[in-house]
Point group: C2
Chain length 106, copies 2
């Protein structure tokens, strides 16, 4: 997993922070499917994802409308439903406007 | 590490995504010191941090001015300098306004 390359601000970010239940059957396969689908979505700019016990996934988007379209994408709706019913014990989703950014490369 | 409890939007987020070099001497101690200091800062609302190979730390703030004050805090300036000179191979910092959020708890 690399640091996402994103255009100059403004753009949008979805910070998805989550904790899993014990039964994770089917979770990794669904996460992989979502990865193959999200990169094809209109307005997708990149994402970063890490899990320790806590999982943090940040995805970057051109617009709020692009975020809404991904939220309503048909396979993603199924994934969200299964996430609530089966995989997640807790999550929080934050929709943000990225106003400034800066970077460092050694 | 838990999901941060934050007030209703709007508030601000700093998404700090980073990769470390091989020599991490002193890094964990500095990260722990920053944790004890950041929670005392004016306007601090919470933070979430996970590292796999990639590290993602998201901190939440009441205002942009509170973010600027933390960036200029004296020990934090030393940590940032050592980060650039010694620990990080790459990082990206994104300053965001959280416009909406929603959550789930099983």
């Amino acid at each position: 997993m690399k640091i996402a390359t994103t255009p100059p601000p403004p753009y949008y970010a979805v910070i998805f922070t989550n904790l899993l239940r014990n039964d994770q059957e089917g979770y990794i396969e669904m996460a992989e499917l979502m990865e193959t689908l999200v990169i094809k979505q209109k307005g997708y700019l990149g994402h970063e994802s890490v899990r320790d016990c806590l999982g943090i996934t940040v995805s970057y988007w051109e617009s709020i409308d692009d975020i809404k379209a991904w939220k309503m994408q048909s396979e993603h709706l199924i994934a969200q439903k299964m996430g609530v019913e089966k995989w997640y014990s807790q999550f929080k989703t934050r929709i943000c406007k990225v106003e400034r950014d800066y970077e460092f490369c050694f």
